[in-house]
C-alpha cells in the first residue's frame, strides 16, 4: 500500500500571530497517505494552533497549504470538511442534548423537501458507520448519557462520516482506558491500511511506538524535527520536546512503619458504583488508585469528600470518626479533593491566582464588617507562588491564562492554605504536558515528605508506578487488591487486578 503513497498534506512556512503571541513561526509539516504521523510538543508548543490552521478554523498570516498536491486556502471548517479533512477536537465538541446520530451528521443532515429531516436515513447511516468501525453504539442514544470514551468514539465516527481521508486526532486517548485505547488503535490501523492519513497528537509517549510511523516535534511555536518513530527512542523525543532531559524512574519508598494513619475508610458503599471499600493512608504516604475507567475510583473520592451521599461506610481522620455529609464537612476535617476537571470543579478561571488560592479560606482574610484583607491575601498568594513554583507574572494574573500544570498548582495551593493534610488528586496530570508533569510529581513527593497523606487516582499506569508508595486497584466498584509501589510491581500485575471481575456479578450477554 505504501508503494503508491502520495502526499496528502504539505504545510510550508506557516506563520500565525495572535496579539502578544507569535504562535507559529515558519512551521512545516507533511502527511502521506497510509501513515500515522504523530505531532508532539508541550502545551503551548503550537500543535493545536497548527491543526486549527489545517482545519480552517484559523487563517495563517503567511505560508502555503497543499492538499493532495494542490495549493489552496482553507476558508473555514466547512471548506476543510469538503477537502476531506476531519478533526477530532481535544475538548470534546459534541452537543449533549442531541442523539449520537444527530451529532454525527450535524450540518449534513439527510434532508427531504422543505428542510424536513430524514431521521430514518440519519440513523441508518450512523449505524453503517458504527458497523464499519466494529462499534456497538445506539444511534438514538443521547450523547450526554454516554461515557467519555463512547463520546470520543462518536467524535471519530463523525470525522469518518465525512469520508475524511485526512484525520486529525487531538489527544484522542486522554479520556480512554487501556481497552478502549486498544480498540481505537485497531480503528486507526484499519484507516491507515485503507490509505487515509492520520495526524496524531498525544502526550502519552508509550503510544508513539504502538501507533505512529513518523514523529514531528514542535517547541515554542517552532518546528524542531521529524523522525522515524521506530528508530528513535522515546527519551530522545521527550528531550526534543522539552529541550532538556526528563527523569523517568521509580520512587524511593519511605519507611512509614512509625507513621500515623491519617485517613481510614471502612465499608464505604454507594449503590453498584462503590461496594464495601476499605483502606487507609498514612501520613507521608502516596497511595495510588489504579483501575479502568468506571471502576469507581472517582466515586470513592467523591464519597470521602462528601460530594455524593453514601449508603454505608465510616471515615476516620487521624483515628477519630468524622461525620461527612457535604464537602464543607470534609474540608473541615482537613480533606482536600482536586478534581480531574479543574476548569469545572477546581478553579474560578476568570478570577486571579490570588483569589483562587484564597477561595476556600476567605474567613482568614475577612476583617471586621466583612472587609477583605487584600494585603494579606496578596502576601499569602505570593508565598505559595514561590513555594510551589507557580509560573505566573504575578498573583493578580487570571487563572485561565496559566498553563494546565500551573493551574493544578494553584488548586494545590488552595487546599494547602486551607490546612488540608489529606489530599486526593484525581488525574493530576490530565492535559498537562510532559515537562510540567515531572514538576507535579516532584510537588506530590515534596508534599508527602512534609507528612501529608496523598491519594492519587490515575488511569495512566506509568504514572501510578512512578508515583505510588502503595497501589490500590479497583474493578467494578470493589477494591480488588493492594500492590507494593516502586520497581517491584509491573503493569501486568495491576491490569490483572483491574480486570478481576466478580464471577457471580458478571451478567450474561452484557459484555461488549
Amino acid at each position: 500500500m505504501t508503494a503508491a503513497a502520495k502526499q496528502l498534506v504539505d504545510l510550508r512556512g506557516i506563520e500565525k500571530r495572535f496579539p502578544g503571541v507569535h504562535a507559529l513561526k515558519n512551521v512545516r509539516f507533511d502527511l502521506m497517505s497510509g501513515e500515522v504521523h504523530a505531532l508532539m510538543g508541550e502545551n503551548g508548543a503550537g500543535k493545536s494552533t497548527l491543526m486549527k490552521v489545517l482545519s480552517g478554523i484559523y487563517q495563517p498570516d503567511a505560508g502555503e497549504i497543499f492538499i493532495d498536491g494542490k495549493q489552496i486556502q482553507i476558508h473555514g471548517p466547512r471548506a476543510a470538511q469538503d477537502l476531506g479533512i476531519g478533526i477530532i477536537h481535544q475538548e470534546l465538541s459534541l452537543m449533549n442534548d442531541l442523539t449520537v446520530a444527530q451529532n454525527i451528521f450535524i450540518g449534513r443532515e439527510p434532508r427531504r423537501a422543505f428542510g424536513r429531516l430524514d431521521e430514518k436515513a440519519l440513523n441508518r447511516q450512523a449505524k453503517e458507520i458504527f458497523a464499519s468501525m466494529n462499534l456497538s453504539l445506539s444511534p438514538t442514544a443521547r450523547v450526554g448519557d454516554l461515557t467519555i470514551a463512547k463520546q470520543q468514539m462518536v467524535e471519530i465516527a463523525k470525522a469518518l462520516s465525512c469520508r475524511s481521508h485526512i484525520l486529525i486526532m487531538d489527544e484522542p486517548t486522554a479520556a480512554l482506558n487501556d481497552a478502549e485505547i486498544a480498540e481505537l488503535f485497531v480503528i486507526i490501523r484499519r484507516l491507515r491500511s485503507e490509505g487515509a492519513g492520520v495526524i496524531y497528537i498525544s502526550h502519552k509517549m508509550h503510544e508513539l511506538k504502538q501507533i505512529a510511523d513518523r514523529v514531528t516535534v514542535m517547541r515554542d511555536g517552532e518546528y524542531v524535527d521529524t523522525v522515524d518513530a521506530a528508530a528513535v527512542p522515546v527519551s530522545k523525543v521527550i528531550s526534543m520536546m522539552v529541550g532538556r532531559e526528563v527523569r523517568d524512574k521509580a520512587p524511593t519508598i519511605p519507611d512509614l512503619s512509625a507513621a500515623n494513619v491519617a485517613l481510614e475508610v471502612k465499608g464505604l458503599s454507594r449503590g453498584r458504583e462503590v461496594r464495601d471499600v476499605s483502606f487507609s493512608v498514612k501520613q507521608g504516604e502516596i497511595l495510588g488508585f489504579a483501575g479502568l475507567m468506571g471502576a469507581g475510583r472517582t466515586e470513592v473520592a467523591r464519597l470521602i469528600f462528601g460530594a455524593d451521599p453514601r449508603d454505608a461506610g465510616e471515615i476516620r481522620v487521624m483515628g477519630r470518626e468524622v461525620s461527612i455529609s457535604k464537602p464543607a464537612d470534609a474540608v473541615r476535617a482537613g480533606i482536600g479533593y482536586l478534581s480531574e476537571d479543574r476548569k469545572r470543579f477546581g478553579l474560578a478561571t476568570g478570577m486571579t491566582v490570588r483569589d483562587n488560592i484564597a477561595l476556600a479560606s476567605m474567613f482568614r482574610f475577612t476583617g471586621s464588617g466583612g472587609r477583605l484583607d487584600d494585603g494579606g491575601m496578596k502576601k499569602t498568594a505570593q508565598e505559595f507562588i514561590r513555594r510551589l513554583g507557580i509560573r505566573t507574572p504575578g498573583d493578580g494574573q487570571e487563572v485561565r491564562l496559566l498553563s494546565g500544570g500551573n493551574q493544578q498548582k494553584v488548586v494545590v495551593a488552595k487546599w494547602l492554605l486551607r490546612d488540608c493534610n489529606i489530599l486526593i488528586f484525581d488525574e493530576p496530570t490530565r492535559g498537562i504536558d510532559v515537562g510540567a508533569k515531572s514538576e507535579i510529581y516532584a510537588l506530590l513527593e515534596a508534599l508527602a515528605a512534609e507528612g501529608k497523606a496523598i491519594i492519587v487516582i490515575s488511569s495512566e499506569l506509568p504514572e501510578i508506578l512512578q508515583l505510588s508508595h502503595r497501589i490500590a486497584v479497583m474493578c467494578e466498584g470493589r477494591l480488588t487488591g493492594f500492590l507494593p509501589g516502586g520497581a517491584k510491581t509491573t503493569q501486568e500485575e495491576i491490569m490483572a487486578l483491574a480486570t478481576q471481575r466478580e464471577p457471580a456479578m458478571q451478567p450474561v450477554g452484557e459484555d461488549q
Binding site: 473555514g76 471548517p77 442531541l98 429531516l117 465510616e314 471515615i315
Partner: protein, 336 residues
C-alpha cells in the same frame, strides 16, 4: 457515619421509574389535571363548558407567545420582545387594514411579515453584532413599544369596519360543525401553531439546529454549520409567530391597543419554564409549553372563580411557578 444520608433502596428505584424522560410530559399533564380537579372541588361554577372555553381563550395569546419564546429559549437565548412585538404587529395589521384598506389576507401577511422582520433584526443583533440576547431583545422590546405608539398615533385602532376580522379569534369553526363545542378559532389557531412548530422543531433542520445551538454552539460552528444564519432564522420564525399572536389579540379585542404588551413576555417565559424547557438551552418541548400556558390560565381563572382576593391570587401564582420549576429540578437531579 451519618445515617441521614443513607438512602433506602426501594423508593430510589420507584422514583427512577417515574422519572424517566417519557414521564416528563405525563408529570406536567398530571399537574394540570390536579389543578382542574382541585378547582372543580373548590367551586361548582368552575367546571362548565363556557368557563373551560374562557380558559382556553385566555391561554391562546399567551400560548402562541410562549411557543415563540420556546424556540429562542431552546437555542440558549431569550426573547423579551415577544409582548411588544405582538402589539406592534397588531398595530401594523390595524394600519394596513383600516388606514390603507388592504384586503384582509394581505393585512394578516403584513402583520406576520412585520413580526418576522423584527425577529430577523433581533437575530442579527444577537448573531452578527454579538449583543447578548437579553440586551438585544430588551432594546427591541422598547423600540417596538415606542413604534407602536408612534404608528398608531397613541390611540387604539378599531377594526369595526373590517368585515370578518373579529371572527379570526372570536368566531368558531368548530362550533359551526359541532354546536355543543363552541371552541373559538383563537384556540384552534393556538393548537395549529403548536403542532406546526412542534413539527419544525422535531423534524426539520431548523429545529435540529435550535437544540444543537442551545446544547453547544461552538461545536455546531466547528462542524461547519453557519450558526449565525440559522440563529437569525430561528429569531425570525419566533417573530413571525408573535405576528400571529398580534393578529389573535387584535381580533379578540377587535382593536389594536398600542399601549398593551409590556409584562406579557414574562408570562410567556413563565409558561415555557413551567413546561419544562431549560432556560440554559438545549432541551424543551412545545407540548410542555402549551401545558405550561394552560396551567397558567387555569390557575388565574380558577382562583378568580373561587373568589380568592386578588392580592392572594398573585401570591399563589408566583408560588406555583416556583414550585413547578423546583419539581422539575428535583426530577432532573433524580434522573442523574
Amino acid at each position: 457515619m451519618n445515617d441521614a444520608i443513607a438512602q433506602p433502596a426501594k423508593p430510589k428505584g420507584f422514583l427512577r421509574l417515574i422519572d424517566t424522560g417519557a414521564h416528563q410530559k405525563l408529570l406536567a399533564v398530571a399537574s394540570l389535571i390536579a389543578l382542574l380537579i382541585g378547582f372543580s372541588i373548590g367551586s361548582p361554577n368552575f367546571m362548565q363548558t363556557s368557563n373551560m372555553i374562557a380558559i382556553l381563550q385566555a391561554a391562546s395569546v399567551n400560548g402562541v407567545l410562549a411557543v415563540a419564546a420556546t424556540l429562542v429559549i431552546i437555542t440558549g437565548g431569550i426573547d423579551l420582545s415577544v409582548g411588544t412585538l405582538m402589539t406592534f404587529t397588531a398595530v401594523i395589521a390595524g394600519v394596513t387594514l383600516t388606514s390603507i384598506g388592504v384586503p384582509l389576507p394581505l393585512g394578516i401577511i403584513a402583520a406576520i411579515g412585520a413580526g418576522a422582520l423584527s425577529g430577523l433584526i433581533s437575530g442579527t443583533l444577537v448573531a452578527k453584532a454579538k449583543i447578548p440576547p437579553f440586551i438585544a431583545t430588551l432594546g427591541m422590546m422598547l423600540i417596538l413599544k415606542g413604534l407602536s405608539l408612534v404608528i398608531s398615533g397613541t390611540r387604539p385602532i378599531y377594526f369595526s369596519d373590517v368585515v370578518g376580522f373579529d371572527q379570526i379569534s372570536r368566531g368558531s369553526i368548530i362550533g359551526d360543525l359541532i354546536p355543543a363545542l363552541p371552541i373559538p378559532n383563537g384556540v384552534l389557531i393556538l393548537f395549529i401553531v403548536a403542532v406546526v412548530v412542534a413539527y419544525i422543531l422535531n423534524k426539520t433542520v431548523l429545529g435540529r439546529y435550535c437544540f444543537a445551538l442551545g446544547s453547544n454552539e461552538e461545536a455546531v460552528r466547528l462542524s461547519g454549520v453557519n450558526t449565525d444564519r440559522w440563529k437569525m432564522a430561528i429569531y425570525a420564525l419566533a417573530g413571525a409567530i408573535c405576528g400571529i399572536a398580534g393578529i389573535l389579540i387584535a381580533s379578540r379585542l377587535n382593536s389594536a391597543q398600542p399601549a398593551l404588551g409590556l409584562g406579557y413576555e414574562l408570562e410567556a417565559i413563565a409558561a415555557v419554564v413551567i413546561g419544562g424547557t431549560s432556560l440554559s438551552g438545549g432541551r424543551g418541548t412545545i407540548n410542555g409549553t402549551i401545558i405550561g400556558a394552560l396551567i397558567m390560565a387555569v390557575l388565574t381563572n380558577g382562583l378568580r372563580v373561587m373568589s380568592i382576593a386578588q392580592e392572594w391570587q398573585t401570591v399563589v401564582t408566583g408560588a406555583i411557578i416556583i414550585l413547578a420549576v423546583y419539581a422539575d429540578q428535583l426530577r432532573r437531579q433524580k434522573a442523574k
